[in-house]
């Protein structure tokens, strides 16, 4: 039988004019009969589950109305109002909506505070005797996790978890239905579903997607279509008959509980109830075997029948002094860089180990997990031997993580199993006992068997386990790799769970480690390895993964693999210009921004006896002139000009290793400054770089410079030109002021530029020269000194 929720409460309260006194939930206290009557309207048309008027009755939301202290009273009143309407057999769901704030790091709400707020509401609902806890209209997965964790802590009631999706099939913070299922099912949801935002037609494909991703019952509460506003009132277009039309389709897609959200009335609910009368939930496809991990926005399958997943091993300060020192100093740059590089190189999961001696690892793990989840979208493997460090990572991660790892260690393993159960994490089993390293595959299988039984006793399921066969160093035991491969095969025969291992340990102490690792990787894949913990940035490993994915049938006909080769061929080859002499070649190197080549050719020209002045004028400056002309004509762009300036700088630097800097030709001196009140200096820096690499001496006074400071510098340095820059209209006044002062006290030429400046304005403030861009600034400066 398909159960039916009641329809909208909020819009009904609004229609009665009692939704804003001061909030809809307070109507249960102020107008209990009216609230009960709304429920009755739904009971009369056959609703099986009533939803209490407690949607916004969590203390965080109630605080906005100064009602946090009345949380218990409002929730109990909501349940009472529903109970008074319920007939025998009608169930009651304690309805819980979003807190109104986003959890950190997406927002400013602390995860623990969110859990506490929900726990308080759930306790009140449970004490009043609801049959379900119903989370609905939740837009962020982490908020749903907080609510579900809170519910599991304070009651034993079944929990319904409904998220709200947009037209693209994602929540506001990026979660799709499959990923929601991957996270919420192991976390302990009883029913998963969706409500609000869209109508039944738009929700239908999302229900289908969800049905393929979870074995749990599915609840769906669409709006009565997509709303529109007319003369200040919101209308939901679907008629009861139309809602009735879609109801059986939602059931056929996999829904087991139906209801209505915004804009639905008892008539809509009646039509839906009648449309699905006699229907039963469909039999659903069984999920494929394996373990599923997920981030907030992406889920990844690991196991037989799925492509190899690389678990990036690089976020681990053990043996990496520089990374450890950085982390100790509070700098996570290397950690973040490793995360980005590994994901770019194809890591499907990132292992995070924060084993920095002398650091409070618990706090650090929570912070790193939170920050990396803002940077990359792959699931994480939380790697620690300390249960409290694991918990900090699991709590902070808005997804389903892998725990790395549990072994047969008394006093620890029970805690780790409990953590996996509580946070819905998968767990990696390491066949290590208290008696030391098990040498044979049989010993390892025996330890794993025991640990799996204990994990299952703690509530874990087959879909929660991954196995590590143990990788020992071949240099110390020649038979160790063979035993690891044998263990992989026995794991596959005995358990069938996905396997992982840190394989680079095999080559420790030997030369050519990369080759050994790559060969071992191929052998391990053939023996049943699914997800190596590895450095995905290693080119050999990457190539091996791509080729084995072709050979194992995960890259049909090698299409993805072949694309790499196409891409390589498409790399544009530098045009083979005919360069007749070394100076022409050097000009070409400057034009193309080839730094190393420019330096090399400069030294070569010097060695061949060319005068530095000739090298400068006939090669370097000529190159800059050509690219400057190209820029002026729109044939090339600013970044290319800057690359040419880099090549020029590298050539000058090379020349300075052979002669004194003073012997290089100096065209003149320019003082540069961004005027008072303006904090932009990129434009000025570009001009400075181009001038100094065209032979000028540049004195850069920086940004936000007072007119008096510029005057003092002009009097001291006696430049040929003072260049002033302003980017914003609000600082053009300061530019005029500076010019005025300089012209009163000096005779220096004043050049101005900046995004908002025009020739007209430059003339108005009596600047001598106006340069529209850096290239023109160089041309004008040359004219001044000629």
């Amino acid at each position: 039988m398909i159960k039916i929720f009641e329809g909208a409460m909020g819009t009904a309260l609004q229609a009665m004019g009692i939704a804003e006194q001061p909030c809809p939930e307070y109507a249960s206290i102020k107008y209990p009969d009216e609230v009960t009557n709304i429920h009755k309207g739904y009971v009369d048309v056959g609703a099986d589950i009533l939803e209490c008027n407690t949607f916004g009755a969590n203390p965080l939301k109630l605080a906005q109305f100064g009602l946090a202290d009345e949380t218990e009273r409002i929730n109990i009143a909501g349940v009472t109002a529903a109970r008074r309407a319920a007939k025998k057999g009608v169930e009651i769901a304690g309805n819980i909506g979003p807190s109104g704030r986003l959890i950190a790091p997406l927002g400013d709400l602390n995860f623990d505070e969110a859990c506490e707020s929900y726990a308080r509401q759930i306790k009140a609902l449970a004490s009043a005797g609801v049959d379900y806890i119903l989370f609905e209209t939740i837009i962020d997965l982490q908020e749903m996790r907080a609510g579900l964790l809170a519910a599991k802590t304070v009651c034993n009631l079944p929990v319904i978890c409904q998220l709200t999706y947009d037209a693209m099939g994602r929540t506001v913070t990026g979660t799709d239905p499959s990923t929601a299922a991957a996270i919420l099912e192991p976390l302990g949801a009883s029913i998963i579903g969706m409500n609000c935002s869209l109508g039944p037609e738009q929700l239908l494909p999302l229900v289908k997607e969800l049905a393929l991703a979870t074995s749990l019952p599915i609840s769906v509460q669409p709006n009565a279509g997509l709303p529109f506003i007319k003369e200040g009132k919101t209308y939901f277009p679907l008629t009861p008959k139309e809602m009735g039309y879609w109801a059986p389709k939602l059931v056929e897609a996999g829904a087991t509980i139906l209801g209505g959200c915004c804009g639905t009335t008892p008539a809509h609910i009646k039509a839906m109830k009648e449309a699905v009368r006699g229907m039963d939930p469909i039999a659903r496809t069984i999920l494929p075997a394996g373990v599923r991990l997920a981030s907030r926005s992406k889920s990844v399958w690991l196991g037989k029948g799925h492509p190899t997943v690389l678990i990036g091993e690089r976020i681990n300060p053990s043996g990496r002094k520089a990374m450890a020192a950085e982390i100790k100093a509070g700098n996570l740059t290397s950690v973040k860089r490793e995360a980005l590089l590994q994901v770019e190189a194809g890591a499907g999961v990132l292992d995070i180990n924060m084993g920095v001696p002398g650091m409070e690892q618990k706090k650090l793990m929570g912070q790193v997990v939170g920050e990396l989840a803002m940077l990359v979208n792959v699931p994480f493997s939380i790697d620690s031997v300390e249960p409290e460090v694991l918990e900090a990572g699991l709590r902070a991660f808005a997804g389903r993580a892998l725990i790395n790892s549990v072994s047969d260690k008394q006093g620890v393993k029970d805690k780790v199993f409990a953590l996996a159960k509580k946070y819905g994490a998968a767990i990696l089993i390491l066949p290590l006992g208290e008696k030391g390293l098990p040498r044979t595959a049989e010993e390892r299988v025996a330890i794993v068997k025991k640990l799996i039984a204990e994990g299952k006793a703690a509530g874990l399921k087959d879909s929660d386990f991954m196995l590590d066969p143990l990788v020992l160093t071949v240099a110390s035991d020649g038979q160790a790799p063979a035993e690891t491969l044998n263990t992989l095969r026995q794991y596959a025969d005995t358990f069938g769970y996905p396997t992982t291992m840190g394989l680079s340990n095999v080559s420790f102490g030997l030369p050519g480690r990369e080759d050994i690792n790559a060969a071992f990787y191929a052998l391990a894949l053939a023996s049943g390895l699914n997800a190596p913990i590895i450095n995905p940035c290693n080119a050999k490993i990457r190539r091996m993964t791509e080729t084995t994915n072709v050979l194992l049938g995960f890259d049909n006909q090698g299409i993805k693999y072949s694309k790499n080769y196409v891409a390589e061929k498409n790399i544009p080859v530098e045009s083979a210009e005919v360069e007749q002499g070394i100076l022409e070649a050097l000009s070409g190197a400057v034009i193309r921004g080839e730094k190393e080549r420019a330096a090399h050719l400069t030294l070569q020209a010097f060695a061949e006896g060319y005068d530095p002045r000739k090298i400068t004028s006939e090669a370097l400056v000529r190159g800059m002139n050509i690219i400057g002309d190209d820029f002026g004509a729109g044939r090339t762009f600013l970044p290319q000009v800057m690359l040419a300036a880099e090549a020029m700088k590298s050539a000058f630097d090379a020349l300075k290793t052979k002669i004194n800097a003073e012997d290089l030709p100096c065209l003149g001196k320019v003082i540069l400054a961004t005027v008072k009140g303006d904090v932009h200096d990129l434009g000025k820096n570009i001009v400075g770089a181009l001038l100094s690499n065209s032979g000028f001496t540049v004195v850069d006074l920086g940004k936000d410079v007072e007119p008096e400071v510029i005057l003092a510098a002009a009097e001291k340095e006696k430049p040929d030109i003072v260049g002033l820059c302003a980017l914003m209209t609000t600082t053009l006044g300061a530019m005029g002021e500076t010019i005025n002062l300089l012209q009163q006290k000096t005779t220096t030429t004043i050049m101005v530029g900046g995004a908002v400046l025009t020739q007209e304005y430059a003339t108005e403030i009596k600047a001598d020269l106006y340069a529209a861009d850096g290239v023109q600034a160089v041309k004008l400066a040359k004219k001044v000194v000629e």
Partner: protein, 225 residues
């Protein structure tokens, strides 16, 4: 989440920096001979150094008086037109923090001019992406109430004078995300924006987007000529 006057914080997740926009902000056009590795490096550096934060506040908007909240009377005709049909507006601010600027400056000083320039451009792309992410989030929040969002409109855009940051920044509560205004009306950190978005019900004017609508015909970032 739509209480008038309430300060709301949202730190969007940016999993990448838009390379095409980065190149455009760097003034690169359809350049073909430029090392993509430098663009990648600039985007990677901004990914590492960005600290993305946004804040938004809903205000009542009196269409006939052109008044946001109680006090802010709009004089810009472009903005008045942009907000026609809106009964409420969202004032927002987004920033990617100061570290991106420090990075750009550092590379420039080291003589890696192109990289410094591209980091600056990538940071601009990032702050735009952050503001877009906030708008997408808001669209999701409001669409089930039958409300649509206009595009973003910022001080300094069209005939909305930059000087009005003085009124706009406090209304957007920029201080909640660590942004402040200098005496010369500039936002610090530099890679920050403020903007207004109209909350529109049905039947409002067609919302012309971006450069088509802007009156600054000589703007260097203009996409249409």
């Amino acid at each position: 989440m739509t209480i008038v006057g309430q300060i709301n914080l949202f730190n969007p997740i940016l999993n990448n920096i838009d390379r095409a926009e980065t190149k455009r902000y760097a003034g690169m056009g359809r350049s073909i001979h430029f090392p993509e590795a430098i663009v990648s490096e600039a985007c990677a550096i901004v990914m590492l150094e960005k600290h993305v934060k946004t804040v938004w506040v809903v205000y009542e908007y009196d269409c006939t008086l052109g008044c946001i909240g109680h006090d802010y009377k709009i004089v810009s005709t472009g903005l008045l037109k942009h907000l026609s049909g809106s009964k409420q507006v969202v004032l927002m601010s987004a920033t990617v923090g100061e570290d991106v600027e420090i990075a750009s400056k550092k590379y420039f000083e080291q003589g890696e001019y192109a990289l410094g320039l591209l980091i600056d451009a990538a940071a601009t792309a990032a702050v735009e992406q952050a503001a877009n992410a906030l708008c997408n989030m808001l669209a999701g929040q409001f669409e089930n109430k039958g409300i649509t969002l206009t595009s973003r409109f910022s001080p300094g855009y069209g005939d909305w004078a930059l000087e009005e940051q003085e009124q706009v920044a406090p209304l957007a509560h920029v201080e909640a995300i660590g942004v402040h205004l200098t005496n010369s009306k500039m936002l610090i950190p530099r890679k920050s924006i403020t903007a207004v978005v109209g909350l529109r019900t049905a039947g409002a004017n067609e919302d012309k987007q971006g450069c088509v609508q802007c009156t600054q015909k000589d703007c260097t970032m203009r996409r249409i000529k």
